[in-house]
Symmetry: C2
Subunit: 616 residues, 2 copies
């Protein structure tokens, strides 16, 4: 059986030298790390010198596809972006749905590795195997939708474009990359592109992605679509998207509110009013070959934010960041903040979290009107919230401080504000309070890219009905955390949508069948699980090499020491030490959180461990 | 010799019936009225019942091309939009450059006549002779750039799209139609589309426009390009665009400032600082086959309006409206106002003029803070100016009043404010004060679409160096007004750009040569002049049929009675009666401004005159 799915080619673009070189994909590595996230991490680990400054030309940004992107299989839509994060100093894997990953395959490559730094603002135009370095002086300063428009005008109106906005140009530490209406948001991948003077990448291609076993693949696709068809939950999800999560998490008292001061938002029914919101949703948007179409094109037609638009949401995390976190119940302001973040190229989660932090500082008198230039930066003041989004993007006034992230900002602001800088390893936390969902506490503490909810979302504590796990219990949480983390690593490395897996009974067997038929590499469920574990451990090794230790696997003081003050999670904190002990053990890591020798051998990561100084 | 240039087909789209019917172009009429403006006016005059409500389904909107649109001849870029204006009740001819007119030809039609009213929001998708009525529910409420984006996404990424914004949907009386980055701004053509529930028209075609005499045409094109090549002025103009006009008119004291209270703007050097502005201009934008590329893609990179963008300017008229007229010297605010007008689909001239009027009312105490909801609506307050643009588009608060136009608003506001409602026939005046350029006084007073500067811009009083005419003199102004009006009617009816004719020595002979070679209708310079005069007179006849008389050929009291208070035009008013007497005579009109019988005969307009009750 021949190899399919993979194209076997990686494009290396060096911006300093202005050259583009094609290298062969290492198929053995591809087999071990699948693609996407795993492949990107593997390349970065091998090619990046340890301890490079993330904003130096030595850092690299990898756009990686999977063998299933661009095929007929539904919902394989993710493009992985892998780099070293300027916000955390850790490995960064960030993702965007849409059409970019498929188009990258059509253009002829499994991945692009961006190296060096362009002398002047530049964008890349990659068409069917040909790379052109284009002048982007005129695009510099442009918001993302116009930048995409002008890049398309100059290249091909059907080009898929990834680009940064003014925030990335100004090296705001959590600048995103915008892909059409979608974002690779977290951790500052856009910042790294900004540091390289790379405004955009435009793609267009006509190559077809062949699979190794067309008949087997067709059957595997049919099997998957059957799962979709049988899932009423998926249909409901497609209609409503992620915002429904807000009720669920509010109901159990873990919706982070006013910078995590509580887990219940009193105005949740105003903020997330289904009937009302559905009136603002005018169309469903989809990603490449996804029948679910969960993106909700949302427009505001009246009031102070009339004219605001968001193409996919706002998703729950954005809603959480600019709703409860900022004490804001006005949905239209969330749409407006979402739009501005997309136009400026800002991560919505970090931006909302930074503003919520500043609001708490202001209410406590740590920040004064002198520092906010007269702005009443109180919870619930959505006008001030919207102004701050712009100030962050352009690094104006207080925004310049917040643009460094909440950890750095709290260090500079002082006054005890570090205590409520809600971040781990520098990455601002998302919209689940782990005091009422203990496994989530593990996630935030150990996620390789910092305090992230998504690389191992603990659905089983919260979203199933009823959840099979007691969310307050500590026992067995290490195991479930590992399981979901490894599952996510597989999904990311195959490019499959997390929302589908959460809403339909897609199994690892479905994915193994598709991977096997596409590539010709016979792979079992167990093989995929092992690949996911391998990816997660390589990310751990990357961070160890960068100097991270188990001391960095921690949580903000508030979550460890301040019991949840009210609601269905009242009285709880995260008992992190106990949780981590269990987790490390389940992972096959020692008490310092370093993978044991036998685990490294089991995963075939001994070489990597040697490079990181873990093995001699 | 065969007929070329014209395609011979007009598409009639009836939105009420949801049908699209092709009718033959009347070639004899085409020969008499050329195309574009002339053709559109002729169709509207013949097909529209007198006295229809402009916002009723009985009104029609005609998008008309010319035999030179879509050919190889440079700078024939205008699309004419002809309808009955909801702002003035007169005939309305309004124009946009760009690519729409050429694409309409490629799609197979000389013109589209839009009739009736759609039951639900609709857009038209016209591709190579096939018309589809598409649901626009989801586009309703969308700003113009996103509406164009989504229409392209649903039709063809290369489609040319004309659309309205929220202002047109809300029937703001001076809503524009946006064509890519260009606008058919004046008089409310967008309002009429809004009243018909027509959000957009998308075009795509592959037809080639044949000319009657290919060899002769090539030669005529070469001749024209030679004129371009020999004009240093045109090259300078291409680089700088229209904003330079601001200095010229300020220097002679006719730049309308603070709602025409004076003709000198003290801060002109800040507002229009060439060196500074050039830094914000990042790219030159062009129209279909125009080597001049006068459009200046302008972006604001910092300050309160960071992120603002305008794709062609701002042009001088926009600069005048939101700069001196509003007492605003901050250029970036002008760019922001320009962007918002384009996104909301508002005419920049009327919008700026209405805001300037409200500012004068506020400063005089006629409008109070109660009416502005606390807004300090003073000259120079650009923050308030920007807020008012949005309030007008969405008809919020005072904006609802101003959305009716300055004439109607002043009638409702009262308090003597009619005295400084700077409009003629309901159309807000542009940025030339006729007290220091007397022929311009004629223009404003007699222009068929109301107080407009453009349908006969008096270059010879102001822009030539030195001007051949004394701008304060009254003698001979009727003749020059008529000459420039007729010239403009020809340019509009051939689709040729006015900016080129003002900056290069393109002659009527050049145009006659092109028209003859394209169509095969042998036409002399004199023939074109006569056609221009015919168009102008037919527009006059249209308005007479609607009930307009010489009493409507007037100017705001301020221009007639308040001498210019300062500067190089100090002490002057417009001596309108004397100017009009001369003008009517030169035109061959009687003392009531009605074309004489012999003039009607000379122009072949006797039938039209009979329909209008001028001849029995």
């Amino acid at each position: 059986m021949k190899v399919g799915g993979y194209l076997g080619k990686i494009l290396y673009v060096n911006l300093s030298r202005k050259d583009a070189v094609v290298k062969n994909l290492d198929l053995e590595a591809a087999r071990m790390f699948l693609g996407g996230r795993g492949l990107g991490v593997w390349i970065l680990f091998n090619e990046l010198e340890p301890k490079v400054n993330p904003l130096s030309p030595q850092n690299k940004v990898i756009f990686a596809t999977t063998p299933l992107n661009g095929t007929e299989a539904p919902s394989f839509i993710k493009c992985s972006v892998v780099t070293k994060s300027p916000l955390t100093g850790t490995i960064l894997m960030t993702f965007a749905g849409g059409f970019f990953a498929a188009e990258l395959k059509f253009a002829g490559y499994d991945a692009i590795v961006v190296e060096g730094k362009a002398e002047r603002p530049t964008y890349l135009w990659i068409k069917d195997g040909r790379t052109t370095f284009k002048n982007a002086d005129y695009l510099w300063g442009m918001t993302t939708s116009w930048a995409q428009h002008y890049v398309r005008e100059e290249t091909d109106p059907r080009a898929q474009v990834a680009c940064i906005g003014p925030a990335g140009e100004r090296l705001v530490k959590y600048a995103s990359i915008i892909f059409g209406g979608r974002a690779a948001g977290r951790g500052g991948a856009g910042t790294v592109l900004g540091s390289k003077n790379l405004k955009a990448i435009a793609l267009r291609g006509t190559k077809e992605v062949e699979v190794a076993d067309p008949e087997g693949f067709k059957k595997a696709v049919r099997d998957l679509l059957k799962v979709y068809a049988e899932s009423d939950r998926l249909k409901r999800f497609g209609k409503r998207g992620t915002p429904r999560v807000a009720w669920l998490v509010n109901e159990i008292g873990i919706i982070p509110t006013r910078n995590y001061q509580t887990g219940v938002f009193e105005a949740i029914d105003t903020t997330v009013n289904s009937d009302y919101h559905q009136k603002l949703v005018v169309k469903k948007n989809t990603c490449y070959r996804c029948p679910v179409a969960c993106g909700s094109l949302t427009i505001v037609r009246e009031g102070p934010y009339a004219g605001a638009i968001t193409h996919r949401g706002p998703e729950y995390q954005t809603l959480g960041a600019f709703g409860p976190q900022c004490g804001n119940e006005y949905f239209e302001a969330i749409v407006a903040a979402n739009m501005l973040c997309d136009e400026y190229g800002l991560d919505t989660i970090s931006t909302g979290n930074c503003i919520a932090f500043a609001m708490e500082c202001f209410e406590r008198g740590i920040l004064t009107k002198a520092e906010t230039k007269g702005l009443e930066l109180r919870f619930g003041n959505h006008d001030a919230m919207i102004k701050m989004v712009k100030e962050i993007a352009y690094r104006e006034g207080l925004g310049d401080l917040l643009a460094e992230g909440v950890r750095s900002a709290s260090e500079k602001i002082g006054g005890g504000s570090q205590r409520f800088a809600m971040q781990v390893k520098g990455l601002e936390l998302a919209a689940y309070d782990p005091r009422g969902a203990k496994a989530m506490g593990i996630e935030y503490a150990v996620c390789p890219r910092g305090g992230c909810h998504e690389r191992g979302l603990v659905t089983r504590e919260v979203f199933s009905s009823p959840p099979p796990l007691d969310r307050f219990a500590l026992e067995g949480k290490g195991e479930v955390a590992m399981e979901v983390q490894d599952e996510m690593a597989v999904l990311d490395s195959l490019g499959f949508c997390v929302f589908v897996i959460h809403n339909a009974d897609v199994t690892m067997a479905n994915l193994a069948g598709l991977y096997t038929a596409a590539t010709g590499f016979k792979t079992t469920e167990q093989g995929l699980w092992k690949a996911g574990e391998r990816v997660w451990n390589l990310e751990r090794i990357f961070n160890i090499r960068e100097g991270f230790t188990s001391k960095d696997d921690t949580l903000p003081e508030r979550l460890l020491k301040e019991p949840m003050p009210e609601g269905p999670s009242k009285g709880h904190v995260v008992e992190l030490r106990k949780l981590l002990e269990d987790y490390y053990k389940v992972r096959g890591w020692n008490a310092e959180g370093i993978p044991e020798k036998w685990k490294l051998a089991e995963l075939g990561l001994e070489d990597a461990a040697r490079k990181a100084g873990i093995l001699s």
